[in-house]
């Protein structure tokens, strides 16, 4: 009997499935279903997307499992990575290598984890014939493919191509079926994105000129051994280009219009994942090949800009009239936290804190934008004021918004609490109390803009609601997928240990 079932074994265990290398399939799969969705035609392909993202989630978890199981894993940031795939069989520096460590695996899991509920949400959000949803599925497929490709690439030039893939896909879904305001936001975003990747490309060109290779693993020891002045310039160009794409203060000007004017599922994808991709790349370069070049002052400059982002983004969110603008400015503020960790990177806990914040904000912000989409549908307007009395009609959605808000404020037991607590702990351990103060103040400011929304919905009477006529019904799927994302952001706080282990693997 057991013999008869032996053929099943390779389907279950990845170790015996050499051909099922998750690194490469995580890129091939989304490219495949994106193409299929395009061929199927306008408005089609939701099922292909759902099936594809589910499979990808499984692959990403498997990948994380193999990295965790490998006891001798080198620490995150080492040029030797745990999982590895030589495209074309050539190997770097002649060919392109794919590689993943705990950091890449974490980003891959987050991407599929956010994309799956959002795909469910988007299927209900874009009604048949909606011009904004006409080509949503292939665009989303290429976006996810670009993100996955970025997280597994170990080649600087290949990373440029993935950056362009992510950038153009994002601009495409922001512009989709939009009016003048949306198009203007998309164009502004496009130019920023192109200048950012252009600066990155020039940096790569200078590095190739100096060393004759663009493979990260080959470059790391070369840069550590000798760095001519040109390489400093290259590092500066690459980092500034990526900061522009990450929308770190003062480069944030393009983000609120782009994230605030797109349809809700698009805003969620952009805020939760796309800005994190360029942040991931900054982190990857910072702890990897560029590490020997960066003085402590650079880390403090990043942290200073991060702190300014927290204050300015929160201030604008507190004053915002429109609901989605409020959430978009909150993204500007929350991105600031990610840069507070740079002066602390001497401790591995700082990296864990940063990635925890990426997860916390990714899940919470996706949930928040999804919830906002429901509220805008139900109230017919994108304003905070219009939410008066919404609690009677949208209890689930407001609960979701509240949970996501909890994560952004950093209240226990959410993952946001875990992230902020770790930042504060790492800061105090190294004697940098100022960073701890900034992190605490940011939480209080977040409370102000989150409660502004909740107060309007719960406490202000919705007496004028009746005058607006019948309330449009909102599909239940929308409410619940928003809830799942927000709840995940809180529950992750209880299961944070696995994530920490993934990032601490071998350290």
């Amino acid at each position: 009997m057991t013999d008869a079932l032996d053929w099943l074994a390779p389907l279950v265990s990845l170790d015996r499935l050499a051909w099922l290398d998750p690194l490469a399939w995580l890129v091939v799969l989304p490219l495949g279903w994106a193409t299929l969705a395009f061929v199927l035609g306008s408005g089609r392909g939701a099922w292909a997307a759902l099936a594809g993202v589910s499979l990808q989630l499984w692959l990403a978890v498997e990948l994380a499992g193999t990295i965790l199981a490998d006891g001798a894993t080198p620490p995150v940031g080492a040029s030797e990575m745990a999982a590895h795939h030589a495209v074309g069989g050539w190997g770097a520096p002649l060919g392109i290598d794919l590689a993943a460590d705990g950091l890449s695996a974490a980003m891959l899991i987050l991407t599929q984890m956010v994309a799956l509920p959002l795909a469910v949400y988007a299927r209900a959000y874009f009604k048949a014939g909606d011009p904004a949803g006409a080509w949503f599925w292939p665009l989303m497929g290429f976006l996810i493919a670009g993100l996955n490709a970025l997280f597994v690439s170990a080649d600087l030039f290949n990373l440029y191509v993935t950056l362009e893939l992510v950038g153009l896909a994002s601009v495409g879904i922001v512009a989709a079926g939009g009016g003048a305001q949306q198009l203007a936001a998309a164009l502004r975003y496009l130019f920023v994105s192109l200048v950012g990747s252009g600066a990155y490309l020039l940096g790569v060109a200078l590095i190739y000129g100096a060393y004759g290779t663009v493979s990260i693993a080959t470059l790391t020891p070369l840069i550590a051994a000798e760095a001519p002045r040109l390489v400093w310039l290259a590092a500066g160009l690459m980092l500034v280009g990526l900061l522009l794409k990450t929308a770190l203060f003062p480069f944030h000007f393009w983000l609120p219009p782009a994230h605030g004017s797109a349809p809700a599922p698009v805003s969620a994808l952009l805020s939760a994942l796309v800005v994190k991709a360029s942040f991931y790349l900054i982190l990857r370069l910072w702890i990897g090949p560029l590490e020997p070049l960066l003085p402590a002052a650079a880390a403090w400059l990043a942290a200073l800009l991060g702190a300014l982002a927290i204050f300015w983004g929160s201030y604008r969110a507190i004053r915002a009239v429109k609901l989605k603008r409020l959430i978009a400015y909150s993204t500007v503020a929350q991105l600031g936290y990610l840069f507070l960790i740079f002066p602390l990177l001497a401790q591995p806990a700082a990296l864990q804190a940063g990635v925890m914040q990426v997860f916390a904000h990714g899940l919470a912000k996706a949930g928040m934008f999804a919830a906002a989409g429901v509220m805008i549908r139900a109230t017919g307007q994108d304003t905070v004021a219009g939410l008066a009395g919404a609690v009677d009609r949208l209890p689930v959605t407001l609960f979701a918004f509240g949970l996501a808000g909890m994560t952004l404020m950093g209240l226990p037991p959410s993952s946001g609490f875990l992230a902020k607590w770790q930042i504060i702990e790492a800061a105090l351990a190294q004697g940098y109390w100022i960073i701890a103060v900034v992190a605490l103040a940011g939480g209080l400011l977040a409370a102000l803009y989150v409660f502004r929304v909740l107060r309007q919905a719960f406490l202000v009477s919705g007496a004028d609601v009746a005058e607006r006529g019948p309330v449009p019904a909102v599909p239940r799927t929308l409410e619940w997928s928003a809830f799942v994302l927000a709840a995940a952001s809180v529950l992750l706080g209880l299961r944070g240990v696995e994530l920490m282990r993934l990032l601490g693997a071998g350290a």
Binding site: V87, I173, Y211, G212
Partner: protein, 219 residues
Amino acid sequence: MKALAKTFVVVWLALVFVAAAIGAMLELGPAALDLRAPVTDHLTDTGVSHPVTAVLLNYRGYDTLLEIAVLLLALLGILAAGGAAGSAAPKAAHPMLQASARLAAPLMILVAVYLLWAGAFLPGGAFQAGAVLAAAAVLLHLVGLTRGWDSPRLRLRLGLAGGFALFLAVAAALLTQGALLGFPPAWAGELIMLIEAGLTVSLGLILAGFFLFLSRDLR
């Protein structure tokens, strides 16, 4: 006033950057690595004899795969940005022009086929061939012989995505055999030619689409 200050700052930064970069470039020593030798050493295993084509489709074929995705994506973005439906009825050009376009189009297709074939051992290849095909399609449109494209029907969608799908399918099939795009030396030449032929048609359609889908808003 603010605009003037911005101009001043940007120009000043640009000048400082150029001066620094030029200074740093002039003092640069030789590179640590030289990929010219390995590229030539393995050339017989790549299936093509032209080094640039070997890098483009074999050594770094993965870049090219993603790059075709970028092209398809730009077209998708153009379609998604929308515009009024209904294809433009082009003005018919002078009969003489039309006749010469009719004559030129097949010639251009021949040139494209030559460029594609020559790419294996001479400068040329799918991109250059695709651009020539696109030019032929645009020419026919400009003299009023073909209509602009409205929304892509199934056949056109298959043509637009087919080259990329074929490339991806070959990459995935090779992945099940070991490595993504790991061409076996014995078959590399044939597989690369197959991919390039598919890409030429799709690239021609995509590049032509950049014009013909846009002619929608030209009424």
